[in-house]
């Protein structure tokens, strides 16, 4: 797929991957051999009927293809861009056994981008009312599925814009905000109602929602408080959580000239962590003009980020220091002036099955920095705890396989249940919960 040249794209926030044209999309779709087993579908967390939509694309029936995808996936323009297809549908593609798998994600993006929403809005369905808390991937997927099944759905969002991590977390160069806006618009057209600035647990309690006539409540409240390392100097001026750094840039558009929200001016930024969020933060920092180094305590092989994000980051001139663990943020007059690190080596596998990094004695060294961004994951949002459902030892909401919490009528899914995961896994959870709601409400 054509991409913006690295030397060009480090100076803008426009989309890196430029997308397929019609001819390429059709040609690529024709590569699907329509094998009987459809392993790709089993690799898709929301179960899109992939061979069916590929066949329609091959015939040039793009709107029909869009309808097939939308039956299972409420946000195809988003997932076509940010899904880790290489470990999901494409990893299972029969064509991938010998040669390249069909580029399912890119074709999905083509179909979704080509679709033009009809401007007219459907009346909200007359069915039972369901409240969806949070407008991130889990909430939107749940809302989409419920609306399709005739439920009257209201999505409550704490922030001023809809999309959750799709608007505050994932940068525009991977997922343009206009794409997210259109996805939300499509759900509105399907009859879903949206309310912003509503902090459930504070502006309204879950109990009050039932009192107002909602018969089920889905909690898709997502990731919560950012984790820090607990090392010295971590609250100095110039240390940010990736959530804060990315929110300033993505939600508040701090990268634009004249933005009301500032972003810290840095020349030498260190990002700590190795996931997709770390890559996003590093690539944003690079675009703001800083030299950027990613510090990760395991080796390149264990890097949890998508391969594509990692390679894009490298192309953009971001340096990586593997097997390196920060031990102290160095400060001067309260501001960051460096990061003290030690080298690590990999020991025995830990609970996650990955080899545990062990500090090498006497290996401490200092990296110069005026900004440090901690991308270490999050712990679940504490605001809704008072609703009274059971939570796990990290504060995550406990549910059954279908997303039912310990409270009758209350369901949950996404990062609030699993901890930091991917857009598509959250969507899968949202969709499963929607099916459970449909079943339970009859």
């Amino acid at each position: 797929m054509p991409v913006q040249d690295p030397s060009e794209r480090i100076r803008n926030f426009s989309e890196v991957a430029l997308g397929y044209d019609e001819e390429t999309a059709r040609e690529e779709a024709r590569r699907c051999i329509r094998c009987k087993a459809k392993p790709c579908v089993s690799g898709c967390p929301v179960g899109v009927d992939i061979p069916a939509f590929l066949a329609l694309v091959a015939e040039g029936k793009y709107e029909e293809a869009y309808a097939v995808i939308r039956r299972a996936n409420a946000l195809p323009a988003a997932t076509g861009r940010v899904c880790p297809q290489e470990t999901q549908c494409e990893a299972k593609c029969t064509r991938g056994i010998r040669g390249e798998p069909v580029a399912i994600g890119r074709i999905e993006r083509f179909v979704a981008d080509r679709h033009r929403h009809n401007a007219e809005k459907k009346e909200p369905p007359a069915g039972k009312r369901v409240a969806v808390i949070g407008s991130g991937p889990a909430g939107l997927a749940c809302a989409g599925e419920l609306a399709a099944r005739g439920f009257r759905v209201t999505v409550f969002e704490a922030l001023h814009l809809f999309g959750g991590v799709l608007v505050y977390g994932i940068p525009a160069f991977r997922l343009p905000k206009e794409v997210v806006r259109r996805e939300v618009e499509a759900l509105r057209e399907a009859g879903v109602e949206f309310v912003c600035d509503a902090v459930i647990g504070r502006s309204l309690s879950v109990e009050e929602l039932f009192g107002e006539g909602y018969e089920a409540v889905f909690l898709g409240t997502g990731a919560g408080l950012p984790r820090f390392m607990g090392i010295r100097g971590e609250n100095a001026v110039g240390v940010f959580s990736a959530n804060e750094f990315l929110t300033r840039i993505n939600l508040m558009k701090a990268y634009e000239e004249g933005s009301a929200t500032p972003v810290y001016p840095a020349r030498e930024t260190i990002v700590v962590g190795g996931g997709n969020v770390a890559m996003d933060a590093a690539r944003c920092a690079r675009r703001l003009g800083a030299r950027v180094t990613v510090v990760y305590r395991r080796s390149e092989e264990e890097l949890p980020a998508r391969r594509e994000e990692y390679l894009h980051a490298r192309e953009e001139g971001i340096a990586f220091r593997f097997l390196t663990n920060p031990v102290e943020v160095l400060t001067e007059e309260g501001k960051v002036c460096g990061l003290r690190c030690t080298e690590t080596e990999l020991g025995e596998p830990d609970a996650s099955g990955r080899r545990r990094p062990v500090e090498k004695a006497g290996s401490a060294f200092t990296l110069a920095a005026d900004c440090v961004i901690m991308a270490l994951g999050t712990s679940p949002n504490p605001l809704l705890k008072e609703a009274g459902f059971q939570t796990g030892k990290h504060g995550e909401i406990l549910t059954d396989e279908e997303g039912r919490t310990s409270l009758r009528g209350v369901y949950a899914g996404g990062d609030a249940v699993t901890g930091s995961a991917t857009v598509i896994l959250a969507m899968g959870a949202g969709r499963r919960a929607a099916m459970a709601i449909a079943e339970d409400l009859g």
Partner: protein
């Protein structure tokens, strides 16, 4: 969109607005705050709820124009709309079970201290309030404080009204005169730091209401963190009130100045907006 039903000027650059926010009005308790965006491209800023009318669904907010965003907010007229008001956020003030309280407010912090004093008064506590200002023209909410306090001491830095000096002078005197269960301090960080130092030798529980830079205000971004007793806490979900004797004020002061230069430029840009309104 949130309509401003009333706007008044309380002191130079200090305003009170009443806005339509029925969900906030229904739930807000003393000490809680809202996130406000003045306009569509506005910054998200935290403002403490200064009062609410549950029947009419109105809340009042008191703020001082200090940076670009508060200037933009101050430039809004009665009848105009704010882009967003979300809340109530944070934990309510820990006022339960307090029989005798000193409430210390500094400058526009008095707007936050007032609902705390009012709530204590309502619960039957003895309330002694100390309200400090720069000079006579900055004095605000004196009548309101008087109505909920058993005793009120007003100070000004230059002595142009009330007692001359900062709030710690009468506070130290009060602490020697009578016994308090708790001291509540709301105002500039430096003032709260010195209030904490004043009460420390007396061993009186002292609570400071922190107002750090925030973005989402709902426990997502981690911008509002501070050190309390060596632990990192988040003002938006763990606070905004904390034990003043455990807060690392110097760190909080440094963090509050993170964007000082940006703020200066934004303020200069937006103070022209305000000239058109006044």
């Amino acid at each position: 969109m949130v309509r401003i039903v009333k706007k008044e000027k309380l002191a130079p650059l200090v305003y009170r607005i009443e806005v339509e926010a029925p969900l906030v009005a229904r739930h807000a308790l003393a000490g809680q705050f809202v996130i406000v965006r003045a306009g569509e491209e506005g910054e998200r800023i935290p403002l403490t709820v200064a009062g609410c009318d549950r029947e009419k669904g109105l809340i009042s907010l008191i703020f001082q124009a200090v940076g670009g965003s508060t200037y933009a907010l101050a430039a809004k007229r009665e009848g105009e709309f704010l882009a967003d008001v979300a809340g109530p956020l944070g934990r309510p003030s820990a006022v339960e079970g307090i029989g005798r309280a000193a409430v210390v407010g500094g400058g526009v912090g008095c707007a936050i201290a007032l609902p705390v004093a009012a709530r204590l008064h309502e619960l039957g506590a003895r309330v002694v309030s100390v309200a400090g200002f720069r000079s006579r023209e900055y004095v605000l909410l004196e009548r309101e404080f008087g109505a909920v306090s058993d005793r009120l001491i007003v100070t000004t830095d230059d002595g142009s009204y009330g007692e001359k000096g900062n709030v710690c002078v009468p506070l130290a005197r009060l602490l020697r005169e009578e016994r308090f269960d708790a001291v509540f301090a709301v105002g500039p960080l430096v003032m709260m730091k010195f209030v904490a130092e004043t009460t420390r030798p007396f061993g009186i529980k002292t609570i400071a209401s922190m107002n750090p830079i925030m973005i989402d205000g709902t426990g997502m971004c981690g911008c509002c963190r501070l050190s309390v007793g060596g632990e990192t806490k988040f003002a938006c979900v763990d606070g905004p009130e904390f034990d003043a004797h455990l807060i690392d004020f110097d760190e909080a002061i440094a963090r509050s100045r993170t964007y000082a230069e940006f703020e200066r430029v934004a303020r200069e840009k937006n103070c022209n907006l305000l000239k058109g309104v006044e």
